[in-house]
């Protein structure tokens, strides 16, 4: 009897074992991005930009040329690369601390310029790498080490919906929020990410896919509960939707 492989590891990832905590969905999102790049046959023409936070080491995991950037500055770095090499695929991979807090300006202006890059924006409503601080995306009532009583709106403000905000910019071509909490949603995530990269390949402008993700370690719950938490608590605040879909890219 001959054995037939039914699943293979994507060529888009290196052999390096990731450092992510058990139950974190960064690994899934990495795999999906890598599979898309492999399926589009653009791995050799891609330059990825790593950010600062849990995804700081992505340059060791994606099997393409990678640049590590300063905290929040990945869209500016990607802009510099893309302006020199307009025919390459350029993407950033950023968390919500990196993009929504310190790097919001770079993200907004890259979108406003219609910079022909793709941002993979991973939102788990907390700073993971530094030990679980409140992020701009932290939910009201969510306990973090810098909102120990739970985030309250009067002194700590309200959650920031980045996709909705970026979608208001004329320069944005395609903006969608997806989730990583179960298999059907992961399939939708892949479709969205592929669409974004295809739009970039056609030179049609700025694309961002926001992916809701987990942080069992800093949320203080287990992996299964974390997936449930995304569904029960995050999606009501961060609805899964296509926020921007320019006529030309449909």
């Amino acid at each position: 009897m001959t054995m037939k492989p039914v699943f293979k590891k994507t060529k888009g990832l290196t052999e390096k074992a990731t450092h992510y905590c058990p139950g974190c969905t960064h690994g899934i999102i990495h795999r999906v991005v890598a599979e898309v790049l492999e399926e589009m046959d653009v791995l050799e023409d891609t330059i990825g930009v790593a950010s600062v936070g849990c995804s700081v080491m992505t340059y060791e995991y994606f099997n393409c040329d990678m640049t590590q950037s300063a905290h929040g500055r990945a869209p500016a770095v990607a802009t510099g690369i893309k302006r020199v090499l307009p025919d390459r695929i350029v993407f950033t991979y950023q968390g919500d601390g990196d993009l929504a807090a310190i790097g919001i300006s770079e993200a907004i202006h890259a979108a406003a310029r219609g910079e022909n890059i793709t941002i993979i924006f991973v939102n788990n409503a907390i700073y993971g790498m530094t030990g679980g601080q409140m992020a701009p995306t932290t939910l009201i009532g969510q306990k973090t080490i810098t909102s120990p009583e739970g985030r309250e709106s009067v002194s700590q403000g309200l959650p920031m919906r980045v996709s909705e905000m970026i979608a208001t910019l004329d320069g944005a071509a395609y903006i969608e929020r997806v989730s990583s909490h179960d298999v059907p949603h992961i399939a939708k995530m892949k479709k969205a990410i592929k669409k974004a990269f295809e739009i970039q390949k056609k030179g049609l402008g700025f694309t961002m896919i926001e992916v809701l993700s987990t942080c069992p370690t800093n949320w203080g719950i287990d992996a299964i509960e974390s997936l449930e938490w995304v569904k029960e608590n995050m999606i009501p605040v961060y609805p899964l939707k296509v926020f921007k879909n320019l006529e030309e890219v449909k």
């Binding site: 290196t14 791995l43 050799e44 023409d45 891609t46 330059i47 930009v49 790593a50 700081v56 080491m57 340059y59 060791e60 994606f62 099997n63 393409c64 040329d65 990678m66 640049t67 590590q68 950037s69 300063a70 500055r73 500016a76 770095v77 990607a78 802009t79 510099g80 690369i81 893309k82 302006r83 020199v84 090499l85 390459r88 300006s105 770079e106 907004i108 202006h109």
Partner: protein, 354 residues
């Protein structure tokens, strides 16, 4: 090539284009705006890209991205903007990316004013950002020197894979002088097999990073950087000497102030005072040689600056106690006149002999 009458900021820009710079990421700030304006018009003419960033922080990080592809890339700013670029410059140094940055410096601290100043000397010559690093600093004194130095600045950046700073005060940025550009045209850039341009045909992913979580790994990287800085110190120091052969007193000045000091020296020589000038052209690495050979012969040095006293510390280090070192400066955007420097020379030498 014929002589052209041009403004300093435009000379810097044109000389960069002639040196093969095709990418410029800028942000408006006085007194360097003509440089950005010139690039906005000029770069598209030569197939390059000019982009006005949303901030100095974004601009330097765009430079970081473009430098990573191996392109010749530049940004320019003035003092407050240079402070904002420090983070990116530290990353450029750590990730060993070549780029040229211009600081057309103005009065500080804070928002200061828009008049010329040399008060960013410490920031320029001590790395400026976080971590163990230096970057080569060129300080031209005339627009012709600017035209001649820009190509070298890009070459040094590429050769050593380091950011390079052109530190010119607002006088140089704003003044007009005749300049003659060299006919040399940069056609081919040095090969950069480390550049992240995609892996097609090169066998595997390349990584640009300044991160090394392994403690031993970072120390090894920093030691390699230190070796590189020592090499730059060995090979790239530049300075000019003026009337120092018989000098009893030596002024030390750089940039536009050096030219004012030369006028003061001419007056002093007429009055019989034997005074000369050491003009560092590289501020880092700092020239030691002209001090070592004169410090046991002269009666004293005087650092003349448009600051409250910054380069004077490097003069003291170079003189190393062999002779008295004094300082004269104006700051906050005030330019010293050659007459007032002359008065200081007279005081230093104990007065003009009748």
């Amino acid at each position: 090539m014929a002589k052209l009458l041009m403004k300093g900021n435009e000379v810097i820009a044109e000389a960069a284009v002639k040196a093969g710079c095709r990418y410029f990421f800028g942000y408006p700030i006085t007194p360097q705006n003509e440089l950005v304006t010139y690039m906005a018009k000029r770069l598209p003419e030569v197939g390059g890209v000019f982009l006005q960033a949303e901030s100095e922080i974004a601009a330097i990080n765009m430079v970081y991205g473009a430098a990573g592809t191996g392109a010749r890339v530049m940004t320019s700013t003035s003092s407050p903007g240079y402070s904002l670029k420090q983070e990116g410059i530290s990353y450029l140094s750590g990730a060993e990316l070549p780029a040229v940055i211009c600081n057309i410096s103005r009065g500080g601290p804070g928002l200061g004013n828009i008049q010329p100043a040399q008060s960013d000397y410490f920031q320029a010559t001590r790395g400026g950002g976080h971590g163990d690093y230096y970057l080569p600093v060129f300080a031209p004194a005339s627009l012709q020197e600017v035209a001649d130095l820009m190509g070298d600045a890009f070459d040094v950046a590429d050769k050593y894979r380091t950011p390079v700073l052109i530190l010119a005060d607002g006088v140089l940025g704003q003044m007009m002088e005749p300049v003659e550009f060299s006919d040399k045209v940069v056609e081919e850039l040095p090969k950069k097999d480390w550049a992240t341009t995609g892996t097609r045909g090169d066998g595997g992913p390349k990584i640009i990073t300044s991160l090394d979580l392994d403690i031993g790994g970072l120390e090894a990287h920093n030691s390699r950087l230190k070796d590189k800085f020592e090499n730059i110190t060995k090979n790239e120091i530049r300075y000019e000497e003026y009337e120092i052969e018989d000098a009893e007193y030596i002024l030390v000045a750089y940039g536009s102030v050096a030219r004012i000091a030369m006028s003061a020296i001419k007056l002093a020589r007429k009055a019989g005072i034997k005074v000369g000038l050491i003009r560092p052209i590289t501020l880092w690495p700092y020239p030691q040689e002209p001090f070592i050979k004169t410090r046991d012969k002269v009666k004293g040095y005087m650092s003349v600056e448009m600051s409250a006293g910054q380069m004077v510390e490097d003069v003291r280090l170079a003189v190393n106690g062999h002779a008295p070192v004094s300082f004269y400066g104006r700051n906050g955007g005030v330019i010293p006149t050659h007459e007032e420097i002359y008065e200081k020379i007279v005081q230093l030498s104990g007065g003009v002999k009748a």
